[in-house]
């Protein structure tokens, strides 16, 4: 029983990471039709900036700086690389591919390819007893952070004008433009949001795994992509649900089956969802 609880909470913690990365990706894809391979860089930016800044300032402040770095990276990528290629979708994807390759290489050059130890703050250390199991606190930090971001995003989408534009644009971007709204600002905004959320995921992943390396971005990114497709592109609730499914499935199967079987199952889930509901779980 205690194993189940531990697995469940760890799975939810992983789900939290996936959701943080996937939510921004999903919005960027749903609104701008851009398959952003460079999203992993936003993640790494958050992780590395936090790691680097933590030697100068308190970790909490470093975290904020990391998120800011992600937001900035998102804005810069959109303005400089994506916007000029307006409506040339394949070229946009190619550019993000090039950026991801160059970016990881850059990180390797600057920080080295080896994993570096990541500081663990006191509020994420320690263990909490839950239902007889001893659960590390950092899992809850991940879950709470993701829950807050989820609520924040839903509120943004529901109650703000830009949220309205994003929701409409995900449905029919052309029509939004044909009603007199300049969607480009909304694009930059979702890139900024995506960058910030991914950066937070990167920093929290650093705390969770206690290391940071140039490769962390790519490995989390692939599962985030899967979560986006399963959940439905452009849907924040869909990403949340899919993230939970994927996180739990991965944890449980990896533990009860052979290591790696969980990952295979997740991909099988993707194939199954695609064959049954190609638009994802959120599509009605």
């Amino acid at each position: 029983m205690t194993t189940v609880v531990l697995l469940a909470v760890t799975g939810l913690g992983l789900a939290a990471l996936y959701f943080l990365v996937a939510s921004g990706l999903s919005l960027v894809f749903g609104l701008a039709d851009v398959l952003n391979f460079a999203h992993g860089l936003f993640l790494s930016a958050g992780a590395y900036v936090t790691w680097w800044a933590s030697s100068w300032v308190a970790l909490e402040v470093a975290l904020l700086l990391g998120v800011a770095a992600g937001v900035l990276a998102g804005v810069v990528v959109e303005l400089v690389l994506i916007r000029p290629l307006y409506s040339r979708t394949i070229e946009q994807v190619l550019v993000t591919v090039g950026l991801s390759l160059a970016g990881v290489a850059l990180l390797q050059a600057v920080f080295g390819a080896d994993p570096r130890p990541f500081p663990r703050p006191s509020w994420a250390a320690g263990v909490v007893p839950v239902l007889g199991a001893r659960i590390p606190v950092d899992r809850f930090v991940l879950i709470i952070a993701a829950a807050l971001v989820f609520l924040g995003l839903m509120a943004f989408l529901r109650y703000t004008r830009y949220g309205l534009i994003v929701r409409a644009g995900v449905e029919n971007r052309e029509m939004v433009s044909a009603l007199g709204i300049d969607v480009r600002k909304a694009f930059t905004l979702v890139f900024a949001i995506g960058g910030g959320a991914a950066a937070l995921a990167g920093a929290l992943a650093g705390i969770h795994f206690s290391t940071v390396s140039p490769a962390t971005g790519s490995s989390l990114l692939i599962f985030a992509f899967i979560v986006v497709v399963i959940g439905g592109m452009g849907s924040v609730p869909g990403s949340a649900l899919a993230a939970v499914l994927v996180g739990l499935l991965q944890q449980f199967v990896n533990y009860y089956g052979t290591s790696g079987a969980g990952d295979v199952c997740v991909v099988a889930l993707l194939a199954a969802v695609l064959l049954w509901r190609p638009k994802g779980l959120a599509a009605s």
Binding site: V95, V97, A105, I222, F225, V229
Partner: protein, 318 residues
């Protein structure tokens, strides 16, 4: 006269090892790798440039060729049989996965191919039953005929790789000239027209996927001969991404562009790695230089090198 130009180039390439400049085993090894990747890139272009399918999982079929042949050789089968079975395996895997992945379009298709390849990479790394050697990979302990082993025989590896490249280009040429090739181009440009004509875009896409996968597996076998072993990076998504970069740099959909892109990229990658300690900062990472070049190419030369040639009005076909 122009139509003989490719044959002329081929003749020059075949005779290259006889010149003093190119007969060192190290150089020949590099050229062999360039030829293999040129062939791989050209095969990938069948999917991307000619059928309009953006697959992120191409490395998987390459890996089936590499690992499949290695495992069979180690099990005692002859080279010919191992190679044949490995290619067949590549074709079968491509057929099965392609049939599923092509059920969806656009970005979902790309995602599925990425996911499938990722499974492949995981399976290889987990080393089921000790077959794949996990992180360390496999070395081939037996079965390679003597004319392919040893430093003095490097020239044979070069010719083998060149033969592979030629096969790929000939197959591609045949396809593009055939009615099937025209359907593929239509599938890429205007799929509705294909359905209106009563043809099934799906079937042709699967065909393209299978041929491309088979060619990749064959390339895997040749690669195994050159390198002498299998390692997990042949299944990585990074490999597919670099294939994509090669094709785009060379010019997607053109006759020789992707092959040239593949050869050039491999060459630059090798040379840049060699200069790594002499270059400052990020330039020491070849992927950084190549990634940036790629981005610039997408912006300014979307047609790749092939477009450059047309711009400069040199002879050649697009």
């Amino acid at each position: 006269m122009r139509r003989f130009l490719p044959l002329l180039v081929l003749a020059v390439l075949v005779l290259l090892p006889y010149s003093a400049l190119f007969n060192a085993p190290g150089t020949l090894n590099l050229l062999a790798l360039c030829a293999v990747f040129a062939g791989l890139a050209a095969g990938y272009d069948l999917l991307f440039g000619r059928t309009g399918l953006l697959s992120f999982g191409h490395a998987l079929y390459f890996a089936v060729g590499v690992y499949g042949c290695a495992m069979l050789l180690n099990a005692g089968l002859s080279l010919l049989l191992s190679a044949l079975l490995a290619v067949v395996a590549g074709v079968v895997v491509a057929a099965v996965l392609g049939a599923v992945a092509l059920r969806v379009d656009g970005i979902a298709f790309s995602m599925v191919t990425l996911a499938f390849a990722q499974v492949g990479a995981i399976v290889v790394a987990r080393d089921p039953g000790g077959l794949t050697g996990g992180e360390e990979g496999l070395t081939v302990s037996s079965g390679i005929p003597s004319f392919l082993v040893g430093v003095a025989q490097t020239v044979n590896l070069y010719w083998l790789a060149l033969a592979y490249l030629t096969v790929v280009l000939v197959v591609l040429h045949r396809i593009s000239r055939s009615p099937a090739g025209r359907v593929l181009a239509a599938v890429r440009d205007d799929p509705r027209r294909v359905s209106v004509l009563g043809l099934s875009p799906y079937r042709f896409k699967v065909l393209s996927f299978v041929v491309s996968g088979g060619l990749a597996a064959l390339g895997g076998v040749v690669y195994l001969m050159i390198v002498g072993g299998a390692s997990p990076h042949v299944a990585s998504s990074d490999l597919t991404l670099t294939l994509l970069v090669m094709v785009v740099l060379g010019g997607p959909g053109t006759r020789f562009g992707p092959a040239i892109g593949g050869a050039l990229f491999t060459f630059l990658d090798y040379k840049l790695t060699g200069y790594a300690d002499r270059l400052p900062g990020p330039l020491s990472q070849p992927l950084f230089v190549l990634g940036v070049l790629f981005i610039l190419a997408v912006y300014f030369f979307p047609g790749g090198l092939a477009q450059l040639r047309t711009r400069m009005r040199l002879p050649g076909r697009a």
